[in-house]
Symmetry: C2
Subunit: 309 residues, 2 copies
């Protein structure tokens, strides 16, 4: 008998690792992955959804594990040509990856929702678990730097996280409707809500900023467990540590835990990162290098969550 749904909130690379672990240890219909769409953007006339796509490729086994992002067996002819016809080439789009962006953009323009398109494409690519966007309405993360507000991908990719971050905002979030199946799922039988080891500021907080999402999580009886993205006092990947510093916070798992505050019922941190964390803490290795690591952390996360009920 099902112990209920595991709802995982996830950004891209780090979150997708745990999502893969969860997908390998849970029955197909017991995992729902809610993807951040705050770093989606319009580029070259295409709608690009980096976190949905990373989750899709990772869960379909199509990810480029050497490169750490994008698709495997990728080629780069489009990228090698786009600048010659005057197009922007600062965001790297592989030829195979591009097929997904082109087809998704066509379908969005034809009036389909991001949910419908994502469900269809993930199914076609062989993903067994459900991946849902946090909202079908556009939410776009923006970053306040010393040169003013800029789009997230401008900050993240074009300027390679060099600008100092003063503030973040999620453009469109106040008017966005939460993805309805997510809200319905949270009102049903839920075993655990897992906040993946993603960047809190740019991967998880956009999800929580969608009106109704935080309330649905808070109302849900299931334990909410987060896995710290900080290991050994720094971020495994990306600008999490730099952002913590720039926003005036200590680079520590405790800072991330405090950021989530009352939302959490439990927190999972690596050895040596458990100082100063209030509430229930589970200490376990959180670095996921192999598929086995991902499965072990997924099992450990669910066991910890189960112990909280």
């Amino acid at each position: 008998m099902s112990r209920g749904l595991v709802v995982a909130l996830s950004g891209g690379v780090g979150g997708a690792k745990l999502a893969l672990g969860l997908s390998r240890i849970l029955p197909l219909d017991e995992l729902l992955v809610v993807a951040n769409t705050g770093d989606d953007f319009e580029h070259l006339g295409l709608t690009i959804c980096p976190d949905i796509d990373t989750l899709t490729y990772v869960l379909a086994g199509l990810d480029n594990t050497e490169q750490g992002w994008g698709r495997r067996d990728e080629t780069w002819s489009f990228m090698a040509t786009i600048a010659s016809v005057g197009g922007a080439d600062w965001f790297r789009l592989g030829d195979r990856d591009l097929a997904l962006h082109v087809e998704r953009t066509r379908r969005l323009r034809a009036g389909e929702t991001l949910t419908e398109i994502t469900s269809d494409i993930t199914h076609r690519l062989g993903v067994k678990s459900r991946i849902l966007p946090m909202s079908d309405d556009p939410v776009r993360t923006r970053v306040l730097t010393d040169s003013g507000w800029i789009d997230f991908q401008d900050y993240f990719v074009r300027q390679q996280c060099r600008p100092v971050v003063r503030k973040l905002e999620f453009d469109g979030a106040p008017k966005a409707r939460p993805q309805p199946d997510v809200i319905e799922a949270l009102a049903g039988k839920v075993r655990a809500i897992v906040i993946c080891p993603s960047n809190p500021f740019i991967s998880i907080e956009p999800i929580l900023a969608v009106p109704g999402m935080r309330a649905a999580i808070e109302t849900c009886d299931a334990p909410v467990v987060a896995i710290s993205p900080i290991v050994g006092g720094t971020a495994v990947k990306g600008p999490t540590a730099k952002m913590l510093q720039e926003l005036g916070l200590t680079v520590s798992s405790a800072s991330v835990a405090k950021r989530y505050g009352d939302l959490l019922d439990g927190y999972i941190v690596d050895h040596g990162d458990s100082q100063g964390i209030p509430g229930k803490v589970h200490v376990t290795p959180t670095l996921m290098k192999t598929v086995a690591d991902k499965e072990v952390l997924a099992r450990s996360t669910l066991a910890f969550a189960d112990s909280l009920t």
Copy 2:
């Protein structure tokens, strides 16, 4: 001193061969190529302009001479992937070629004209001659078959010209405005108007169907010379011969000449194809295999045109 502009009306592959010959023997500012846009279409959400692109690639020296269409050094990863995400794969789009379609589509959506975009892209790719679309307004060739009206590329590529053609129409043509620089050029000092050896029905007649275009050609003092696309009693390439038959015409250079009628001041045909052609005829080899062939035919065409004034 300039003898005036040579205005060449062209479709894709066959026309581009002569356009290349003309571009190699004329000063840069003495050639204007007017491209058919009747076979443009919207595919995968992209606006694709096959004849403009063929002319661009050929005049930039970027064409795939072995394949006979598309770009050289092409790769096909996008095409190998598009069907897996549910996209249509019947029209082959190379990864490099795609860069042009994506960037053009982005700029069209941003409100730029096809003329502006074409001028900029051809310049960036190293084309020295001017290529102008027949119109900035969409004109779409449609084909009446025994199963009803279908879009041109559906007939041409997806169904590989298999349906019997009963009739052609140029959707949008009655309301299309001719490209203004073309009309202005035709009102200026023109040495010759050259109708390239393209398919009359699907490459040249769409150009002539744009209101004002035929009148501007007729009003222009310069001689109008067409090169027959029929060599040795059949078409060099494409469905010209099949279409002539299906439309109840003899497969001959004479049929094509009659189709153009009074518009022509002179007609150029290959040896053995000159039977039954009214008016001034110049007989010369018209098959263009090498660059030298293209230059020789271009020179011969201009000499013939000059002799008519």
